[in-house]
Symmetry: C2
Subunit: 256 residues, 2 copies
DNA sequence: GTCAACTGCGTACACTGTACGAAGTATAGC
DNA sequence: GCTATACTTCGTACAGTGTACGCAGTTGAC
């Protein structure tokens, strides 16, 4: 499976694609496709068969054109990924939760989680710099709104949003990988652990790792139900927001 | 660039490789290589030229053998990656910091960070299930030791360690990607932002995203020095440990 | 009518992991 | 010492990948 890279070519060309501001050509044959058609087809492939299946040839095949045709619309695969990302970010409801910052940040985390679960291929795209399309901009604006006016500096606001997003990314990726490996191997975590323990114990006395043996067994026994994946997510998010809370409280009472 | 997958084949064979417990063959020609030699060569390639360059052919070339020779020692690339991972985990100093759990968890985070920075290719390996080699076991044992005896359940201990490790993984990956993209594009974040803003403002009124424009500019202006990357790491880690602290304090005084 | 701009796309290149099978070598058992 | 067998190295082949290049056909501007 591939970890793809979002594009970092000519800014003007990228923004043109993201905002669909490409000037229509006057001469020459009418283009047979549109950017939207290609993005839709690519998203269909990625959603159903995963990012690894989303090759230029496969997307072109699904559209009934030759592979090289796509390069008339996108400079390369990276730019196509950029537009795919911006497009799915448009699915975020971006609800404005009433109340204090914590409820808002919580909503940010949950909506992002839902989005990742709906489009797991997103987790495999390394975004070095965000594609500045309409939906990415709106997402960032909405996320910053959750922590605006609570006493954080601009840089701290960005760091906080990035912290939450980073957490959600990592947590969902772990959960999705865990699920995929169960499908691939046909073994649950418990079965996997139980298949290894006898060999491991024979090769090297497990008593040398008492905590690992105890906790590993406890985790293996309890983490078979999907409930526990949700539970792990809630646990981490709770800790994270508690941590942000400690900072915010500090800022509200700067005498500390 | 590839995101590689660690192997999930036959447990007995994998453990044999990780612990170097392969029974020596009696008949036939003497093997020209050892597992350690191959792992060392593979690590050299990955460390210097990145994970994408670490192909079976390249490693074999560096060893002066044919590509298929490696398959006499490893079932596949995934298993080679497993042994590489376990090997580099052996570089962790695993210092026992005196004092309370927070200092110990802090040390866990910092040592893991150092390791990722020394072997950035680790960030691209999707570990669905950890390779249960000697160093991975020792690492897990050491990490659990940081949160043992402070009132958490076994599952909570595992979740806490996973939370810290997940944070470090995400934070370092972001920092490393940011650094790589600067080298690739020849632009700092600030330059990149300043190259996009004019086009962006022309395409769509930036005033529609007031927070994003304000914070984006602030972040772009301030985050050019390496100091700030460290600062972001410290900020996130501080928040995280604060959050864990809130839970631990709660457990110490169960009347809450 | 001509030309330039534009379209789709076939072919080619340098890669990847690894299945298969051929050819050579060292040893266990006699 | 001979042979069968287990074991080695490794060349070739296959089905993929992104995309550079260039050709052929189509359209609107002049």
């Amino acid at each position: 499976m591939n970890q793809e890279y979002s594009g970092s070519g000519d800014p003007a060309r990228s923004l043109e694609l993201l905002w669909r501001r490409r000037p229509k050509p006057t001469r020459g044959p009418k283009p047979a496709l549109t950017v939207d058609q290609i993005v839709t087809a690519a998203l269909r492939v990625a959603d159903t068969d995963g990012l690894a299946a989303m090759s230029m040839r496969r997307v072109a095949d699904d559209l009934g054109v030759g592979a090289m045709t796509l390069y008339r619309y996108f400079p390369g695969k990276g730019e196509l990924l950029d537009v795919m990302l911006d497009t799915v970010y448009g699915e975020l409801p971006r609800r404005d939760v009433p109340g204090e910052w914590r409820a808002k940040l919580d909503e940010v985390a949950r909506e992002n989680r839902e989005l990742y679960l709906r489009h797991p291929w997103m987790l495999q795209v390394a975004i070095s710099r965000p594609p500045l399309g309409p939906n990415v901009m709106a997402k960032y604006e909405w996320e910053l709104g959750a922590v605006e006016g609570i006493g954080l500096s601009d840089v701290e606001m960005d760091a906080t949003v990035a912290l939450v997003n980073g957490y959600v990314h990592g947590a969902v990726r772990t959960a999705v990988e865990a699920h995929k490996v169960i499908l691939r191997s046909g073994m649950t975590d418990k079965e996997w652990w139980l298949a290894h323990v006898p060999h491991l114990d024979q090769i090297s006395d497990l008593a040398k790792f008492p905590l690992a043996a105890r906790v590993g067994t406890a985790v293996g026994s309890e983490f078979d139900a999907p409930y526990d994946v949700d539970h792990a997510f809630e646990y981490g998010l709770g800790r994270l927001l508690d941590g942000v809370s400690a900072l915010v409280v500090n800022r509200s009472a700067p005498e500390g």
